[in-house]
């Protein structure tokens, strides 16, 4: 119940996570400079989402939190995605 037993992330893991994030950032920049045309935005957003997921999982310790909290986080992102999609039913068809 109290956080005495809560998980301790090792320094090494933190550092590895940072490395992955930096690599992904580099890839993002390279991809965009490569001008993939229509795909650029999609690729950039996908990479950003992956980075986001990594930060959530490791830096923010979501991996070690209760299922309820993980569901909440997932649900909130999903809700936001649906709202965007529904908004675009208007803009896309106009």
């Amino acid at each position: 119940m109290s956080n005495n037993e809560s998980h301790i992330t090792s320094y090494a893991l933190n550092f590895k996570v940072l490395l992955v994030l930096l690599i992904l950032t580099t890839i993002t920049i390279l991809v965009i400079k490569a001008h993939l045309g229509a795909f650029t935005v999609a690729v950039a957003l996908t990479l950003a989402s992956i980075k986001c997921a990594i930060v959530l999982t490791y830096f923010m310790h979501l991996k070690f939190e209760s299922l309820i909290l993980r569901l909440m986080v997932g649900g909130v992102f999903l809700l936001f995605a649906i709202i965007i999609v529904i908004t675009f039913i208007d803009y896309y068809f106009r």
């Binding site: 309820i68 709202i83 068809f93």
Partner: protein
Amino acid sequence: MNNQTPTAPLNYLNHKTGLWSWLSSTDHKRIGLLYFYCIVTFFLSAAVLGLLMKIEKVAPGETIMTAQTYNAMFTLHGIIMIFIVVIPGLAAVFGNIMLPIMIGAKDVAFPKLNLFSFYLFLGGACIALYSQFAHGHSPDTGWTFYVPYSAEASSNVVIALTAAFTLGFASILTGLNFIVTIHTMRAPGMTWFRMPLFPWSLYATAWIQLLATPVVGITLLMVIAERTLHVGFFDPKLGGDPVLYQHLFWIYSHPAVYVMILPAMGVVTEIFPTFSQKPVFGYVPIVFSSLAIALVGYFVWGHHMFTSGMSYESRWFFSLLTFLVAIPSAIKVFNWLSTMYGGSVDLQPPLLYAISFIFLFTIGGFTGLTLGSVATDIQVHNTDFVVAHFHYIIFGGMGFGFFAGIHYWFPKIYGRMYNIRWANIGWGILFTGFNLTYFPMFIMGIQGMPRRYFDYDPKFQLGQTISTIGAVILFTGLITMISNLIYHSKKGAIAPANPWHGVTLEWQIPSPPPHENFDEVPVITRGPYVFDNPHTK
């Protein structure tokens, strides 16, 4: 504050006295009462504005006020009623007072944050008032603040927007507090499905407050930026998109209408079993219908924009979703009726209000369906039909739910009893006046009487006059009801701990509740609505 007999045991009302002990209290019951007094005051002042508007409309042309005053008046009436009265309303008052008790906790999860939200609320309310009296003239945009008008009007729109923004954050923090409270503070043995239904409805509400309010927060901030920095997110002169504003506004404000009604549904769900001495019919369906309303309620905002020039596809799509959100409400209505069916029904004032809630909410809801269907909404959008719809459902629903709640919990909160006869008389006048005021507006709306109209075509004269007479009767009814309550909160007969023979936790402790609610932590071993020894003399 302290008017108990000297021998009265200490309770939350008298364990400490003095104004400061109230203003600095982190006791959820005291904070709830503070909200109560503020909200009632604001409700009455905005209601008087409503009455004045009706009097203005007793005849075509200018009668008691100018067009500018009228426009400022419905704006203020709408802002106060929506942002200060009904959105915080039930959750902040009865949620605060009753939620911790009903789940067997000593307080909410973050008592200090709770007090902070109250002051944020009070601050927001004061800013709203300030917008009326500050230099320049009072805002006249309607509570919806549609751009480009709100970006250009010369009135104190920025102040009003700031008020709405502040009030929004108060509401977010209350929601946050309730979610955490419900997750972590339930008494031992109180599993999710042993929780009474009022807390359940607050739980669904809190998620809406938490996740929808920030969107309107940022939107209002953008309008402020638009006015002060000339950026132009929504102003077409600078390339902005006025309809995008409407999307963002309703992404919040539609879910917000369920913030208003869900707690009221929770209140009446408590009342029906108690006064029938019978378990709630369909506990699980009621729980899931609350959650479904909260969830689907997020996806129907576009039904306020059927004529805005949205794409054809999104118009019918939103219409379809709107119809789906009516289903959980239907489930609730039928479950309430079945709860009473076969019971031993005692028609006391709380039940009287709860039953009128069903009636008025049903009418409001069905007219909501008329609005949800695209073809018919095209005809009645922005007419008095809409005004009648939401007064039926907000005032008739949330308002009557609130009145039901106050008549139900009054003896618990004050430890005294009101006069039942007068409560019934007040109800009669109120109910008559209510229908007389708003029903004609449905008819006028269908005939094409637009809303936010200071003046009208003489052919609407009859309906308008009836409606005005109704408003005066309504006024009388409210006065009757409120004076009965105010008088007896000090002078009423001492009430027993459990006057209605309720079975939820709040009835198991003394009236008024002691400062720390429970002398010892209650242990829950069964569901919330078990009437093993019916008190039916």
